[in-house]
Amino acid sequence: MMTLLRHPVALALIALLALIILGSTIAIVPETKQGVIVRFGDPKEIINRYQANENFGHTGAGIIWRWPFIDQIVWIDKRVLSVEMERQQVLSTDQLRLQVDAFARYRIVDPLRMYIAAGNEDRVSDALRPILGSALRNELGKRPFAALLSPERGQVMQNIETGLNRVARQYGAEIVDVRIKRADLPDGTPLESAFTRMRTAREQEALTIRAQGAKQAQIIRAEADANAARIYAESYGKDPQFYDFYRAMQSYRYTFAPDRTGQTNIILSPDNEFLRQFQGRR
């Protein structure tokens, strides 16, 4: 022991060695990971496997023992992972095109199967991506365009999820959710024609609004005319003869008013009613 104390370098090396052995004997399993213990290439045990309805603090996470240098641990993510599909062009039954972005969320529920079938999470994603794409194309391609936008989309997603889950299970994964992120009309002709349709619809609306306005205006004017006629009739109808006279007088004044353009010459006969008194007869 004394020799050892006289050689602190040796002490340090021993400590280092002890640390290495300890480090390779114990492993810390975080809550976010599950692992497969592999002994000489042979998977022996699964640690911290995902269980539905587990509570954190009561999972398999924590410290575990393993054989140093013999047991290897393959870490696999325990969390919900995402696989994003490349943009797909989907052709609906009515030959309309839709550009679709979708994503799926999955979780590895069987780490051992996943390790054997794929090796790591990335390869699971790589395997799921094209399948998600083709499932989406197939499923959406069975429907008319309008149905792709309507609430029926929920059922479509369900079908895709079921199809995708079948494949995912081979990789020890479980699809949590499949969703369409974006659904757009492709650039170019489809988008342009949609714009044209919108534009013409608006133009039609504008014309309709203007015509309706004109119609309403005409009705308002007619109602006013009718109303005026009624007022006149009510008033003048009390004595049509007097009205005739009264109106004639007004009319004369108006017609022969000095500010009218054009000169007026009147040739009167003495028989005229106005000149009745001219002749002094009774």
Partner: protein, 378 residues
Amino acid sequence: MRRIFGWMPAIAAMVQGPWGGKNDGPDGDGQKGGGDGGPRNPWTQPGKPSGGQKGPSAIEELLRRGRESFGQGGGGQGGGFGGLPPRASGKALWPIAIGILVVLWLVLTSFHRVGPQERGVVTLLGKYSRTLSPGISLTLPAPFEAVSTVDVEEIRTIDVGSVSAESENLVLTGDQNIIDLAYSVRWNIRNPELYLFQLSDPDATVREVAESAMRSVLASVSLDDALGAGRSSIEQQVEQRMQEILDGYKSGIRIQGVAIKQADPPTAVNDAFKAVSAAQQTAQTYLNEARAAAQQVTAKAQGEAAAFDKVYEQYRLAPEVTRRRMYYETMEGVLSNVDKTIVEGSNVTPYLPLPELKRRAQQAAPAEAATANSTGGQ
């Protein structure tokens, strides 16, 4: 044990070179002050006489003494402590240094300050152990317990689309129209453990879920709803749907709100939409004009009718006289303004002063010449 210790000195001898010995110190120090000549020391001023009676500079002195204390201790792993001055007794310092380090390590990794808006999630060797409330808390030191603090109050915002004109976020509506949409989602963390442990990329997940939820809600509403009246209901539906999806992931995230900042027709069709509002204005103009005219017509009718009624009232009291009076007054008014010719006898051909008429016609506007011809009387 013995066997291991047996070859220990050999190793010690092997590594002696870089660690201890005469001609070196710790790596970094070796570069700085390794030599004993004064002028080579970068810390001394080259201009001043440095070597002389003062000897090496203070730092060099320090290093030297450190090295001496090292030598007494017999080298060791605490190479970095070469700079510490020796104790008065001249005994080794490094056990104390290690002790200080241990205390520092304990203090720094065991005490955790969790802010009022934060929670600290404690994992004991990877396993979730507890969540710390705000305040100062004590945990086991570093390799055993680890704390990740999560801000649970902060409202995070995700913006999708933009209100600027150059970039458009086109969204299809239920009636297969397209709108340009910009919205933001506010969210915070409801459950820090779930947030940390459940999703591999929570922030990206919220964004994707937001886009998905917004588009699926918009796919069930019409263009007009999306542009105007239905906005608040859309916001609510999106919020609800996002929450459902995120709860399905057990994400520990709460959606605080969804706000549609802009929902406009795309620029390509914007003019047509403007034409509609222009048409609405025009239609309104038509109606206003018609109403004004209607008022005029009605008022005129009422006025004339009232005038007639008044006159008629008086007329009824004395019909014959009133009638005569009105007749004469009117005739006066009319005939006083015009040229009059009275022709006696019914068989006389009236002489029309045609040249005179022509002259007058020329004075008047040519178009109105014809009216000058009017002859008449009652």
